[in-house]
């Protein structure tokens, strides 16, 4: 997907001024159509960017965005020198990478199994059910996890007790919490992430399989030499796109699941920004951290977009 690539290049550069004027006049109504969305953009997307200047200010609610005093990079310095700086970065990256490591192989295997499944009914049921959790909010997910993992009467702890183990408080234990985050995400999104691979598999030319069968390749060999190479470009694209969002570790999920006991392993940049800004009212500091994340996120997205254009000849913008 490339907005800049096609079309407009030829007209706009080589045009004489009068022709340009005529073009603009001809498109009057298009500009009119753009007016309301553009006003929306200015208010709801650009005013926040303007507001982000409080990252460089000692923000006081009474004085407002403009009235507060400039303090330079003070907020950034506070953040970078603080003890939580590395733990926030580490947790954020750990969850993003961990989710890729767990969900991606699972969704690829699921896609291959859905494609290879010899029982249409089973395939249909699995496909339908596997997509469903994607549409549930993390509040609902938290409720489901409570029924499963509650320390006193959760089903999993009942099982542990049955086998003579010690019950665990999964959501407030620093050892178990990260795994709950990673696997609940896999449970919720695995089926949904498989869709794109299933689509790629359905695009494989069936005659390839037939030829392989005639040559005596068994199922394993066909998966190894036809299926996997066929979806490899899609896997690369998905990985690249995930690279762009590596600082988004899943705010909604962690915000629902974590609690003060597990802040040390659960806190990510976004949850910290929320608490610092909207609970402690340290708007300047929280905005600085948000901006820090925004700048790195931008670099990563642009890098991912560039890589994707280089390697797969498709990009988001």
């Amino acid at each position: 997907m490339d907005i800049g690539k096609s079309g407009s290049k030829a007209p706009s550069t080589a045009l004489s001024k009068s022709r340009l004027r005529r073009e603009i006049a001809r498109h009057r109504s298009v500009y009119l159509l753009a007016l309301i969305p553009l006003i929306y953009y200015i208010i709801f997307k650009y005013v926040p960017i303007w507001n982000a200047q409080i990252a460089f200010k000692d923000f006081m609610a009474r004085r407002g965005v403009l009235g507060s005093e400039w303090i330079g990079l003070e907020n950034f310095r506070t953040f970078i020198n603080s003890f939580y700086f590395w733990s926030l970065i580490r947790n954020t990256v750990m969850y993003s990478v961990g989710k890729i490591l767990i969900s991606l192989p699972l969704s690829i295997i699921l896609a291959i199994c859905v494609y290879e499944c010899t029982r249409p009914a089973l395939r249909k049921v699995v496909q339908t059910l596997a997509y469903l959790p994607h549409f549930l909010s993390w509040v609902i997910m938290y409720g489901i996890l409570l029924a499963l993992l509650a320390p006193g009467d959760g089903v999993v702890n009942d099982l542990i007790k049955l086998f003579g183990g010690q019950p665990l408080d999964f959501l407030s234990n620093v050892k178990t919490f990260p795994w709950v985050v990673l696997f609940s995400d896999a449970w919720k999104e695995m089926g949904w992430s498989a869709i794109i691979f299933i689509a790629a598999l359905m695009g494989i030319d069936v005659s390839l399989f037939e030829a392989a069968m005639v040559e005596g390749a068994n199922s394993w060999q066909r998966v190894r030499y036809i299926t996997i190479p066929a979806i490899l470009p899609v896997i690369v694209t998905v990985l690249i796109l995930k690279l762009g969002t590596i600082l988004d570790a899943g705010f909604n999920q962690i915000f629902m699941l974590y609690s003060p006991q597990v802040y040390s392993v659960g806190d990510i940049i976004d949850t910290w920004v929320y608490r610092q800004g909207l609970l402690e009212f340290e708007f300047g500091l929280a905005t600085a951290v948000g901006l820090f994340k925004g700048v790195f996120g931008m670099v990563l997205v642009l890098l991912a977009n560039w890589l994707s254009r280089k390697l797969t000849e498709s990009s988001l913008f």
Partner: protein, 305 residues
């Protein structure tokens, strides 16, 4: 359709002459075992929540045993308690208002924006494109948006929940991509016949784009329906369903949430599970419909072509 299904089937099913080797059999067995395993993994958490919501008050066994409790011993106390409470209905109505208002605003803003970006001959299109892309790539975080919502006086009004997210640039790009794919001759001939751009959009483009409008509308709908964070930030009262559910789930005893007896005498964990299930019902009911369009949309967004 039949053709599509055939292509989806495993290749060897179509060619019964090829003899299956032992390795093929093992492969098939492993694939089917994995599928059943996934099915079970998906169903267990759902089943434990559903059975928990029907747990009778005088139940003494563990919740693990409760998963195998026969249905005639189930109790609907938790549901009668929830339905008898006004909070649930109010929250549902608020959620519905956010859903309808949000999807309406989102479409009214996204469709023209996507259309404008799809007019290839438009002078200044690249500038407009930049205006759209920059905030998408450079995300300044939640605090600056929070200040904006506060400053324009949207605090504690329902639109605060959906207005800041009323154009999702990603959705806008997908829709634009679809509009670009509509043959130019159609638009040009309409323009030559004297249609204004607004007429081209409404008479030519939109009738051809029902599927994509539906898909994008559902994208927005699901995100507004599931949103709890913005509602939590911006609303003090008139709270939607996810917030009510969150309050119920986080309350260690029901009395933290409302007066002790407001929910009757069902067990607390059953009430929690029942509110989870009831909150999920609208989504589950709409799911077959949503799934159809969402699958299409995902592919539009990710696979080029």
């Amino acid at each position: 359709m039949a053709d599509k299904k055939q292509r989806h089937l495993k290749p060897q099913m179509q060619n019964s002459k090829v003899r299956l080797t032992a390795a093929d059999h093992t492969f098939n067995v492993i694939v089917n075992i994995f599928m059943v395993f996934i099915l079970i993994v998906i169903l267990i958490p759902v089943w434990s929540t559903i059975t928990l919501s029907f747990r009778p008050n005088d139940y003494l066994g563990s919740n693990l045993e409760g998963m195998f409790l026969p249905p005639w011993e189930w109790s609907t106390d938790a549901y009668t308690a929830l339905l008898g409470n006004d909070g649930f209905l109010d929250a549902f109505l608020n959620s519905f208002k956010i859903l309808v208002g949000g999807v309406f605003c989102a479409l009214v803003l996204t469709i023209p924006m996507a259309y404008v970006l799809s007019v290839q001959s438009l002078p200044g299109r690249k500038i407009i494109n930049m205006i759209v892309i920059i905030p998408y790539v450079f995300n300044v975080g939640m605090i600056p948006t929070y200040l904006l919502v506060r400053d324009v006086g949207l605090m504690n009004h329902l639109p605060a929940v959906f207005l800041p997210g009323a154009i999702s640039t990603y959705n806008c790009i997908i829709m634009r991509q679809f509009f670009v794919g509509i043959p130019n001759e159609l638009k040009e001939s309409a323009r030559i016949d004297g249609c204004t751009e607004l007429q081209v959009l409404f008479r030519i483009i939109l009738p051809l784009s029902k599927a994509i409008v539906m898909t994008i509308g559902l994208y927005y709908g699901v995100s507004f329906w599931n949103d709890f964070f913005h509602a939590m930030l911006y609303l003090n009262d008139n709270q939607p369903l996810p917030i009510l559910l969150r309050n119920i789930l986080l309350a260690s005893g029901m009395n933290e949430y409302v007066e002790v007896n407001a929910f009757g005498n069902a067990p607390v964990s059953a009430i929690k599970a029942a509110s989870v299930f009831m909150s999920a019902i609208p989504m589950i009911v709409a799911y077959p419909f949503i799934q159809k369009y969402f699958t299409k949309g995902t592919l539009l967004g990710s696979v080029k072509g």
